[in-house]
Each structure stands twice: as structure tokens, then as C-alpha cells.
């Protein structure tokens, strides 16, 4: 008996701590790479730009400007880890944002309007989930329908921009100062969503079912996990997050606009992938997605610091995305070989 236990032990001792770590946590490596890139970006910007890049003001703005993106990235991580994709988030954010602004300007109280838009976002997510789970529609096409639907509804609600004058919603952008750092309630909401998302993914049965489905749907099914309910729920969560992002954006910018968030779904997907989530599903972390959003936001800030054209933003994000995909590809290939 003892020999059989001893054999693997001596085997592990011969390997370095690095190899042990790599074999046990291969899926964490892309996320660490993202953290490293973020550090490099911040350090590089501090060194080569005017030397005043890492200031409390810039760092606070980094979180607050990317609040809506952060909220959507959390929902998107849930969907992508199951092996799906949700293209509708940008449109849903625009729809819920303009719906909120229009309802408030018509005298509906915030206590009614906010739950209504959250439910609206969740319902669009539910539609996508039902199409994916019960009608075997590919997530790409089902969420494409969601994208068209939400964008059309946004313009149906209002064709032009609507200012928000409701005190309760505008309160969400009051700045609370801690030294020179500041945060608004919208930033607190975004961070709470990240914390909640990370908790659900890591420490609940539902979260583990998501990883199991992403690893192998059939295996998850045979293990007796509730695949249908989980798959439905991840799209509802993503829709709910997009609805919440609509609230965050409308409160932060003080207006609803039906053209908001065109192409944002791709920014969200790019941020999630940069954060180390595999598009094939089964691997990924909510906290990684948060890092991905910050990488995205930092590049954007650096470019505006440089005064460079917006076109460079798209090229750099595309290039960075490519870099990460190739890195992930190599890691997955090595992990598979080891197995």
C-alpha cells in the first residue's frame, strides 16, 4: 500500500514548484498574463508619459468610466464559460438606458422604473436562453436576434437622447472622496457585481455546474447536473447585467441615448478574452474579466493621454486580442498534451 502512495509523491518532488503549479493551475496562467500586461501598461505609461499617469484622479476615472463595461463583462463571463456567447449586451444596455430615461422624464418614480428596466434586460436574456436551450439555436444566432430586438426596441422607446433629471438616479453619480481618490455609487455597484459574480462562480453549486457544462455538456448531463436550468440562467444573468449596465451608464452620463453601446458587445468579449476566459468554455474567472476590462480601459486612457487618434485604439485592442488568443492556444495545447 505504502509504495503505491510513495511513488507519485517522489515523482512530484522531482518536479519544480513551477511545473507543479503549471499543471494544477494551467487555466490561471492567461489571467496572470493579463495582470502582468496591466502592470506593464501602467508602469510604462507612468514612465514614458508626463509622469503623472498614476494619479488618484486617473485611477478613479479608470474604474468609473468602465463601470458599465465591467458589469456586462461579469455577465458575459458566465455565458462564455458555459461555451456560449451573448452579442446582445450592448443593445440591451442602450434599450434599458433609454427606457429608464424616458420613463423618468414621464414622471414614473425611480423605485418603479429601475426594477422595470432590470426585468426588461432579464427578459431579453430569457428569450435568448430559451432559444438556445429549448430550440437548439446556436448562441451566436439567438443572441443576434436579441441584439436586433433590443436595438429596435431602444429606437421604438425614443429616437433621440433624453436627459435624466431624477434626483434618485442622479444621486448615483455623487462623488465620495477618500483622500484624492473618489468613487460614485455606480462604481460601488460595478464592484459589488464583480464580487457577487466571483463568489457565485467559485463557491456555489451553480458556479461549478457552469464550469462543468463548459467542460463537456454531455458529461455534465450524465452527472445529473441541471444543464437546462443553468444554461437558461446564464443568459438571464447576462441580460440582467446588461440591464444594470444601462442603469449605471444612464446615471453616470446623466442621459439615455438609443445609439449607446453600438459594438460594445465586441469590446466586452475582447475584455473577457484578454482576462483569460477561453471562448471554448470551461475555463475563466470573473476577476480575470475585471482585469481584462482594466487593460482595455488603460489602453483607452493612454491613447487619450497621447492625443493619438481613436483608430489606434481599435488596432491595439485587435492586436492585443490576437496576442492573448495565441498565448491561450499554446497553454491549452500544452495542458492537453500533459493530460
Amino acid at each position: 500500500m505504502t509504495t503505491t502512495i510513495d511513488a507519485p509523491l517522489t515523482h512530484t518532488e522531482t518536479r519544480s514548484w513551477y511545473q507543479v503549479f503549471m499543471s494544477r493551475h494551467a487555466s490561471l496562467v492567461p489571467t496572470f498574463a493579463a495582470v502582468a500586461i496591466l502592470m506593464l501598461l501602467l508602469a510604462g505609461a507612468e514612465a514614458f508619459l508626463r509622469g503623472d499617469f498614476i494619479t488618484p484622479g486617473t485611477m478613479s476615472a479608470l474604474l468609473l468610466d468602465n463601470g458599465p463595461l465591467l458589469v456586462m463583462a461579469v455577465g458575459m463571463t458566465f455565458v462564455i464559460v458555459t461555451g456560449g456567447i451573448d452579442l446582445s449586451v450592448g443593445s440591451v444596455m442602450a434599450f434599458t438606458g433609454i427606457l429608464l430615461a424616458t420613463m423618468l422624464s414621464n414622471g414614473v418614480s425611480a423605485a418603479v422604473a429601475i426594477p422595470v428596466i432590470l426585468i426588461g434586460g432579464a427578459l431579453i436574456g430569457l428569450l435568448i436562453g430559451v432559444l438556445v436551450q429549448y430550440f437548439d439555436v446556436q448562441p451566436f444566432i439567438a443572441s443576434l436576434a436579441g441584439l436586433f430586438l433590443a436595438r429596435g426596441l431602444a429606437f421604438l422607446v425614443n429616437l433621440s437622447s433624453v436627459r435624466v433629471e431624477n434626483d434618485a438616479v442622479l444621486w448615483l453619480r455623487t462623488r465620495w472622496y477618500v483622500g484624492d481618490f473618489y468613487i460614485t455609487p455606480t462604481g460601488v455597484i460595478a464592484l459589488l457585481v464583480v464580487a457577487l459574480g466571483a463568489f457565485v462562480m467559485q463557491f456555489t453549486r451553480f458556479g461549478r455546474t457552469i464550469y462543468a457544462i463548459g467542460g463537456n455538456v454531455q458529461s455534465a448531463h450524465l452527472m445529473g447536473l441541471n444543464v437546462a436550468r443553468t444554461r437558461l440562467l446564464v443568459y438571464v444573468i447576462s441580460g440582467l447585467c446588461a440591464g444594470l449596465a444601462g442603469l449605471v451608464l444612464t446615471a453616470y452620463s446623466g442621459a439615455g441615448y438609443p445609439r449607446n453601446g453600438i459594438g460594445t458587445e465586441l469590446d466586452v468579449i475582447a475584455a473577457v478574452v484578454i482576462g483569460g476566459t477561453l471562448l471554448t468554455g470551461g475555463r475563466g474567472y470573473v476577476l480575470g474579466s475585471m482585469v481584462g476590462v482594466f487593460v482595455y480601459g488603460t489602453i483607452k486612457t493612454i491613447i487619450s493621454f497621447l492625443g493619438a487618434e481613436q483608430s489606434w485604439m481599435q488596432i491595439i485592442v485587435g492586436g492585443l486580442l490576437l496576442l492573448f488568443i495565441v498565448v491561450q492556444r499554446v497553454i491549452v495545447a500544452r495542458a492537453d498534451r500533459r493530460e
Binding site: D136, Q138, I315, L321
Partner: protein, 349 residues
């Protein structure tokens, strides 16, 4: 009759016919054709002319989807090729000369070809998932197009270039001839040679077809190159329509409409069997629907709502669950009479 219902082109054709009938009832001039200065005018001609960019992009998309892939970068490729060709014309000495336009068009298409090679390389050689591999170019491509035009909307005056998008040959628009030529070329290469069958084999099972001796890598790579080139031509037509290289508006959301056209035409996103005729009908459905919505006076911003409804209806019609439900309802009705008769027989016995 049963065969007719099972044929995969039945539903798309029925949808297109329904749209045409609805339009004809709503506005009798829909089918009318008038000749003005040796040019044919009418809503039908407009639909055929305006559908050219979408038709080219959707044809390329069909081949890519048949190999179990997807090409999200077509809109960005359109923006790049349009930007390249119009910038060449704008910088040249003689923007109106035929030679300048020929060079501009050829260079624009070559750039699109290079972008197609790039996409194909990422997918077939590096083995990156098609959605994400083409997402790279989708994000970066528009940035490149903006750099080429210098962030502004380049406008030029060049009659030969405008002729590509708005000109007429023998009463019919040039753009329509380009899309027909592309359909015929793709159909001949895919269906009159073994290429189409090999493409389907790769789409159904890449590994098995590779073991069977099919060069799946070259076939997949080729599909992305064809998609890139066709998107390049589409970009040139699109730029010629307004004579302005608008890096943000060119091919905006066209990848989604092209994918929709392919799916409407009965080609599954899972790869394998594809239908070029189906894609052509899918494109015509989208363009006719577009024209219908415009005629109804709906603000064009609300158009996506109609497309959402169409997508949901189409995917439900194609879904096996709905088929099973329809069949069980049909059987319940069919079974009713025989059971009644049997009871009668038992009573008689």
C-alpha cells in the same frame, strides 16, 4: 407534396414569395418597370441593385460557414478596400481616368485578398476559433481604414468609379451584373468541380476528411480568401455608391446580415451542406424586407426590430423541436379517423 415540404429551399422561397405578394398588394407599383434614358427603373430593379454588396459578402460567408467557420471581419474588410481604392483615386493626378480607377480597384481587391489570407492563416494554420480569429480583424480593420482615410470621410469625383456602383449596361445596373457574375462563378467552381463536395466534407468532419486525403487546411484557408476578396469587391461597390470612403459606415453590421442571409437560405451554422441558391434567396428576402420597412414609413432606426422577429420565426421553423411538435399534432389528427373506424368494426363484429 411531402417531398416539396421537405426540400430545404421551400421555406425560403415561400417567405420571399409572401413578401413580394404583400408588397404588390400594399403598393401596386411594386412590380412596375419604367424605362428612362436607356435605364430600367422600378422597386424590383432597385432591390437587385442595392443587394449587390450584401450578395457578394453572403456568398463568401456561405463558403466559410460550410467549412464550419464564420467571418466577422467582412464589414471591416469592406471599409479597408473602399478606403484604399478611394484614397488612391483622391491622391492621383487624374481621378477621372480609366487607368487610375482600374489600379485603384485592383489594389483595393488585393488588399482585401491579403486580409482574407490573414484570416485563413489564423484559422487553418494556427487553429484559432473562427469567431475570435476574425474578431481580431473586425476590431482592428476599421482602425486601419480610419488611418488610411486620415479619420476624415474622403470624397472624390471620378465618373468611371461611380459607374461601378451606379452605372447601367443594357438597361440594367452594373452592380447587378457584378453580383450575378459572382453567383455564377462561385456556383460553377463549387458545384461543377469537386470543390463543393470537399468543402462540405471538411465542414461535416475536418479530421475524418483529412484522414481521407482531403487537404482540409487549404480548403478552409481558400474559403476565407474568397470571403475576403468578395468583401473587397463589395467594399468598392459600396464606396462607389456614395463616392465617399466612410470607414465607420462602410459595411456596418453587414456581417450580421450576411450570416442571417446564409442561415435564412437553409445553410446550418454547424457547417457541412451549403446552398448557394438558398443564400441568394436569403439576401433577396433581407433586401425586400428592408425595402418593405422603408415603404411602411417605419423610422429606419427601428428596422432591427423587424429583423429580430424574422430571425426568431426562421430559427423556430428550422428547429427540430417545432418539427416534432408539428408532426405529433399532425399524427393526432391523422389517427383520429382510423381509430373511429376500428371501433365501428369491433362493434360490428
Amino acid at each position: 407534396m411531402k417531398k416539396l415540404f421537405k426540400h430545404r429551399l421551400t421555406w425560403p422561397v415561400a417567405a420571399l414569395a409572401a413578401l413580394v405578394v404583400i408588397n404588390t398588394i400594399a403598393r401596386p407599383q411594386f412590380l412596375s418597370l419604367t424605362v428612362k434614358e436607356n435605364q430600367l427603373y422600378g422597386p424590383l430593379v432597385t432591390i437587385l441593385r442595392d443587394s449587390a454588396p450584401l450578395m457578394l459578402v453572403a456568398l463568401g460567408m456561405t463558403l466559410v460557414i460550410a467549412t464550419r467557420g464564420i467571418d466577422l471581419s467582412v464589414g471591416a474588410v469592406m471599409a479597408v478596400s473602399g478606403a484604399v481604392s478611394l484614397t488612391i483615386i483622391a491622391r492621383s493626378e487624374a481621378p477621372g481616368s480609366f487607368a487610375t480607377v482600374a489600379i485603384a480597384v485592383i489594389v483595393g481587391i488585393l488588399v482585401a485578398l491579403v486580409l482574407g489570407v490573414w484570416n485563413g492563416f489564423l484559422v487553418s494554420v494556427l487553429g484559432i476559433q473562427p469567431i475570435i480569429a476574425t474578431l481580431v480583424l473586425m476590431l482592428a480593420g476599421r482602425g486601419v481604414a480610419l488611418l488610411i482615410t486620415g479619420g476624415a470621410i474622403t470624397t472624390v469625383v471620378s465618373p468611371p468609379y461611380k459607374w461601378i456602383a451606379a452605372g447601367y449596361i443594357a438597361y440594367l445596373p452594373v452592380a447587378m451584373f457584378i453580383s450575378i457574375a459572382a453567383i455564377v462563378a462561385v456556383a460553377l467552381f463549387e458545384r461543377r468541380t469537386a470543390l463543393g463536395v470537399l468543402t462540405e466534407a471538411v465542414g461535416i468532419n475536418p479530421e475524418a476528411s483529412r484522414l481521407a486525403g482531403v487537404r482540409s487546411r487549404s480548403i478552409i484557408w481558400g474559403a476565407y480568401i474568397v470571403s475576403g476578396v468578395l468583401a473587397g469587391v463589395a467594399g468598392i461597390i459600396f464606396a462607389g455608391r456614395t463616392m465617399a470612403a466612410d470607414a465607420n459606415a462602410a459595411g456596418f453590421m453587414i456581417e450580421l446580415y450576411a450570416i442571417l442571409a446564409v442561415v435564412l437560405g437553409g445553410t446550418s451554422l454547424m457547417g457541412g451542406k451549403f446552398s448557394i441558391a438558398g443564400t441568394v434567396i436569403g439576401v433577396l428576402i433581407i433586401q425586400t424586407l428592408d425595402s418593405t420597412i422603408l415603404f411602411l414609413g417605419v423610422p429606419s432606426a427601428q428596422k432591427p426590430l423587424f429583423f429580430a422577429i424574422v430571425v426568431v420565426i426562421v430559427v423556430l421553423i428550422q428547429s427540430t423541436r417545432v418539427h416534432d411538435f408539428g408532426r405529433s399534432v399532425g399524427q393526432r389528427f391523422a389517427r383520429k379517423e382510423p381509430t373511429d373506424i376500428r371501433i365501428d368494426e369491433e362493434v360490428a363484429a
